[in-house]
């Protein structure tokens, strides 16, 4: 068993590191620094690692293998997958670097590093459907962070656990059911069963409408910083995993109706997210609807894979992560500055006069997620809107309604933030005291970054198209 493999660096090493972090989790600063530096190192290493998987250091030449054998099975991490790995560890770095500022669990650095390594392993394990069990392990580890301190586990986290566990048999059984199906192309009943099982499994994992009911409950009770990290990773990894499934199973991608079914699932999910968001009066729950809408866009992108959906998915990954980061950072910062704000609309009334930069940041991050021109997600969403509308008129109407729903929520939030409670005295502009310069700088830099991503996508986002390289069957290189 050779240890000079890519899996050793990006799966085993971070797992060992997270086990070591368990020992020092009480020393929060130290564990945060180790997690940050570890994630940053792994992200940069994955980004610059040579495609030949060999490099020279001094007089010595190091050759890495892309396959790590364990129990007669393999963990295969090819050079083309390293872009995705770099992105995962970048997310882990971004969430760890300021995580300690907020009162998240002391286990956050440990768990975030371990779950990132496990998400990478879901892309590497062969047979790849065994990843279902790794996803279950990630869920079980994640619930430790998702339950708030000093409170009993709510029904949201329990339902999350249940729905993710129920998905497991669907994915594993589908893999067994269609073993050797290529040699029996006439076995259409088996193909249909396998397809239905895979789609149900992914629907449960991704909380596609109408299987999302646990998500707002969970978002309301969990810390926004933790929630955004866990569901960003889950959403991104499972979208890429779904691409892998479609790439590996010719019978699945060649079955008529699979891609239209995904398109409808995506459109209905983002419609549900948009409509439900429009009626919300608690900003804590909005993160769930944001995740739901973005899941809808991801599923729609995969459904439109032949019409540029793959590119749209790849272009959306970084701006989406930054928008989640900005929203959860702003919300966590508001909770920290003003603990009396519980996230309900009445408690946010007139916040603009008190925390103007935070209020602006909330609105900008939502506008970014809406797909406003000039902001990071616009190029990807424009691609999807055009491709979707070009297929059928039904999509145009439903996409329009979904966007309108989200826009309505933004308008209501703006109205709430700008309007003072008539029963209370008008607060003065006390922002100078409460919004510290570093916090304002972070918000400003992030807004600037989102603007740059939107203005110059060819510079900042095109490298992310490399994420699609491993899927040579689904997206044959032109």
């Amino acid at each position: 068993m050779s240890l000079m493999t890519t899996s050793t660096i990006w799966i085993l090493f971070p797992l060992v590191l997270s086990i070591l972090l368990m020992a020092v989790h009480r020393l929060q600063k130290l564990s945060v620094w180790i997690a940050c530096l570890g994630s940053l190192f792994l992200s940069i290493a994955a980004f610059v690692f040579p495609e030949t998987l060999e490099f020279s250091l001094g007089s010595r030449n190091y050759i890495f293998d892309d396959t790590f054998l364990i129990f007669n099975r393999a963990l295969t991490l090819t050079a083309t997958q390293l872009r995705t790995v770099a992105m995962f560890y970048l997310f882990s770095f971004l969430w760890n670097i300021v995580g300690a500022r907020f009162s998240v669990s002391r286990w956050f650095p440990t768990v975030s590093l371990a779950t990132t390594a496990l998400w990478v392993s879901t892309l590497a394990v062969e047979p790849f459907l065994y990843a279902a069990l790794i996803v279950e392990l990630i869920v079980l580890i994640s619930v430790l962070l998702l339950t708030p301190r000093g409170e009993q586990a709510g029904s949201g986290v329990m339902r999350y656990l249940v729905s993710q566990t129920i998905a497991l048999p669907f994915i594993l059984l589908s893999g067994w059911m269609v073993t050797g199906i290529e040699s029996a192309p006439s076995a259409s009943v088996l193909i249909l069963r396998g397809t239905v099982m895979i789609l149900i499994g992914f629907s449960l994992w991704l909380a596609v409408f109408p299987l999302h009911s646990w998500m707002p409950m969970l978002a309301e009770k969990s810390h926004p910083w933790v929630f955004s990290f866990i569901f960003l990773m889950q959403q991104t990894s499972l979208s890429i995993f779904l691409l892998k499934v479609l790439d590996q199973f010719a019978w699945l991608r060649n079955l008529s109706g699979v891609f239209p079914a995904m398109q409808w699932a995506g459109v209905l999910t983002l419609l549900a997210g948009g409509v439900l968001a429009s009626m919300q009066t608690k900003v804590n729950r909005i993160l769930a609807y944001i995740v739901l809408i973005e899941t809808g866009y991801s599923v729609l992108a995969i459904g439109l894979i032949g019409q540029g959906g793959g590119e749209a998915l790849a272009l959306s990954l970084l701006p989406r992560a930054l928008a989640y980061w900005q929203w959860s950072y702003t919300l966590s910062s508001i909770h920290q500055i003003a603990p009396e704000i519980d996230g309900s609309f009445p408690s946010l009334r007139g916040l603009f006069t008190r925390l103007p930069f935070h209020s602006l940041s909330l609105i900008i991050s939502l506008l970014g997620l809406l797909g406003l021109p000039g902001l990071g997600l616009f190029p990807a969403k424009r691609l999807l809107w055009n491709s979707g509308a070009g297929l059928t008129f039904g999509y145009t109407t439903l996409l329009g309604l979904a966007v309108a729903g989200m826009a309505l929520f933004i308008l209501r939030l703006m109205h709430t933030l700008l309007t003072n409670d008539p029963n209370l005295p008008t607060p003065g502009l006390s922002g100078k005291d409460e919004e510290s310069l570093p916090r304002v700088l972070v918000l400003f830099l992030l807004t600037l970054l989102l603007l740059l991503l939107g203005m110059f996508p060819h510079i900042f986002l095109n490298p992310f198209l490399g994420i699609l390289e491993p899927f040579i069957h689904l997206l044959p290189p032109s």
Partner: protein, 219 residues
């Protein structure tokens, strides 16, 4: 003897089991297994539930012998007993455990769940042959009965309960049922290792939820 048609991971040392138990003994094991799951669904008496969970894993051990060597089957039994012990110790340390022999009258909820359990029991026995014909011809009917029963009991438990202990028991029961089914379809050491890790993590999460529940109540 039960026909075997197992996908395995190519290990020449693999001994896939041999249906060494007589049919009657296996039938008794299935009935005991499903009764244990039914007790967990119906009764709300923690000590009894943990005992039934342990008994459930003993039943799984006897049934899985059909498709696994005694050594591999024993791993499932040991993991199951460890899981039960972990939950038991959590309950003991929280001071909430009651005596195993304590007598309590049946509540209306328990009577309702008892009726449901009877229904699930019947469904498991009646649907197994159809399931075997249509989807899993290589699995024996008794194994499918046990597996289907555990999955149904687990699903029902998960769907109706919000108490951490019963959620953990529901999840473990559901997963056990699926493990039993999957064991008759495919063998892989890494899969066995991952299932073991998932079961132990589930017990840890269950214990964590119970502790949090107790802490929040006392606060």
């Amino acid at each position: 003897m039960v026909p075997l048609f197992l996908v395995n991971d190519g290990d020449p040392d693999l001994y896939a089991g041999g249906a060494t138990l007589s049919e009657t003994l296996r039938l008794i094991a299935v009935v005991v297994l499903l009764l244990s799951a039914a007790i967990n669904l119906v009764r709300r008496q923690w000590a009894l539930n943990i005992f039934a969970l342990g008994l459930q894993y003993a039943g799984i051990f006897l049934i899985i012998l059909e498709v696994r060597s005694p050594l591999l089957a024993a791993i499932k039994l040991i993991v199951g007993l460890m899981v039960s012990l972990m939950l038991y110790l959590t309950l003991v340390s929280s001071g909430l455990i009651e005596s195993l022999v304590q007598r309590r009258r049946f509540s209306s909820g328990e009577l309702f769940r008892g009726t449901i359990a009877l229904l699930l029991f019947l469904i498991s026995f009646l649907a197994a042959s159809g399931l075997q014909e249509s989807a899993f011809p290589q699995s024996s009917q008794l194994l499918l009965t046990a597996s289907l029963g555990l999955i149904l009991f687990g699903l029902f438990q998960m769907g109706t309960i919000t108490e951490p202990l019963y959620l953990a028991i529901g999840l473990l029961t559901f997963l056990s049922g699926f493990e039993l089914l999957y064991a008759s379809l495919e063998f892989s050491r890494i899969l066995e290792a991952l299932f073991t890790a998932v079961n132990l993590s589930l017990a840890l999460v269950g214990s964590y939820f119970i502790i949090k529940d107790v802490e929040s109540r006392s606060a």
